[in-house]
């Protein structure tokens, strides 16, 4: 073994390098900046269909992330999905006719809740419920509707042609 001074120096450098690497992983690689534990207030919204929304999905206004989805539940009496959102306190003060919609980031991306402020004088408070909601777009439904319409159209055309022949 080397002299104990060199050993201590190298071990110190090793520990410093390891800690620095952890620090790099935390600061440079992960989303530390969006990990604020600031105070939040709670909003709920009811949707017919939430698609692939998950707990911790983003809540945005005009593309800016203002909070996260904190809970998703299903109301068996009204047959609606209840989405609870925690919005940061500095974004307090949306009008009470704000609309909530579920959108998809990109074609195959994650789903998120988008809020669109309305023009009402009354403001949303902690625990308020957003009344205007728009469900998630389910791709399969859209495709099947499109195919169904096309098929119906095609059927009509065929019927017309047959009518002509006769």
């Amino acid at each position: 073994m080397k002299s104990s001074k060199t050993t201590e120096l190298m071990v110190g450098m090793f520990i410093a390098a390891g800690t620095a690497a952890l620090f790099v992983l935390a600061m440079r690689v992960s989303n530390l900046s969006s990990f604020d534990t600031g105070d939040t207030y709670r909003l709920t919204a009811r949707f017919e269909n939430i698609g692939g929304l998950k707990v911790r999905s983003a809540v945005t206004v005009g593309g800016v992330r203002v909070g996260r989805v904190s809970a998703i539940d299903y109301d068996i009496r009204h047959f609606q999905a209840v989405v609870t959102m925690d919005v940061e306190n500095k974004y307090m003060g949306f009008p009470d006719d704000t609309a909530a919609s579920i959108y998809t980031a990109g074609l195959l991306g994650e789903q998120y809740v988008s809020l669109e402020p309305g023009g009402s004088e009354e403001l949303l408070k902690n625990g308020s419920q957003i009344e205007l909601t728009q469900s998630a777009l389910v791709l399969e439904k859209l495709v099947s509707k499109f195919l169904f319409d096309k098929a119906a159209e095609g059927g009509e055309k065929k019927g017309d042609q047959q009518g002509d022949k006769q």
Binding site: K2, V11, I15, A17, G18, A21, L22, L25, A26, V29
Partner: protein, 259 residues
């Protein structure tokens, strides 16, 4: 037939006895930890041989694993026009899986086998018995500092591996293949979560460090005190460590990421 069943029973009892010895041994080692506070020099010396000397292989492997991930990830992602997501792909696979697992396997090969051989040889040359004769507990004096050093080194090595790997991916992806510099980092920062990904990776490396070091020092201490016994103990250390790391990795992954 009866003989065969008896053999099975004997090997079963033997395995359980070994497991019991290993646990008592671990308990005894943990009891020795407070005594190390008075002799930090013992731990520093072990950190040198377990941690610092493993640094080279970890750095080189991390760099090349990251570079290979960058290359392969780019070739796959470019087909979908999603090469901007290269940073996410590299960072998640390294931070969550490859960092802790590959580091643990290399650590078992580089440091674990050395620990086993050293302790086994100490036993074979009766240095451990000599200590006992002098009323020095060899578990407190020899095993505890090695165990602590392994447990401290492993997460640090895994963190270094991960950081170097991500820069390796950056070097290949951005430097050689022309992925956008900003996209590499910003997509990574958007998708990699501090708690879910980075901290869980650190927890994994802590668990692996604990298990690999435990296996290494126990196999050395439990070795048959002959040359053949030491060689077998060293082999067993590497093999059992690999089994334990890969098996535990599945369990931990299922617990952490299996929503």
């Amino acid at each position: 037939m009866l003989e065969w069943i008896r053999k099975l029973g004997r090997s079963g009892i033997g395995q359980f006895q070994k497991l019991g010895r290993a646990n008592l041994f671990l308990l005894n080692t943990l009891v020795g930890f407070p005594g190390l506070l008075r002799r930090p020099g013992l731990v520093v010396a072990q950190l040198w041989s377990v941690g610092v000397l493993s640094l080279m292989i970890i750095l080189v492997s991390g760099l090349f694993v990251g570079m290979v991930l960058g290359l392969q990830g780019y070739n796959t992602l470019v087909d979908f026009g999603a090469e901007e997501s290269l940073g996410v792909a590299v960072a998640l696979s390294i931070v969550r899986e490859l960092g802790p697992v590959v580091t643990a396997l290399l650590f078992a090969g580089r440091a674990g086998s050395a620990l086993s051989a050293e302790i086994g040889l100490m036993k074979a040359t009766e240095q451990l018995s000599g200590m006992e004769m002098m009323a020095v507990d060899p578990i407190h004096r020899v095993i505890a500092p090695r165990f602590l050093a392994g447990f401290i080194s492993m997460p640090l090595l895994a963190a270094i591996f991960s950081a170097v790997g991500i820069y390796g991916g950056y070097f290949v992806g951005v430097g050689l293949l022309g992925v956008d510099d900003g996209a590499y980092w910003s997509q990574m920062q958007a998708k990699v979560d501090l708690y879910d990904d980075v901290f869980n990776g650190v927890i994994k490396s802590l668990v692996f460090g604990w298990v690999v070091t435990w296996i290494a020092v126990f196999e050395g201490y439990d070795a048959v005190p002959t040359s053949e016994g030491v060689s077998r103990a060293t082999t067993r250390t590497v093999v059992y460590s690999a089994f334990a790391v890969l098996g535990l990795d599945f369990v931990l992954t299922a617990l952490m990421f299996g929503d």
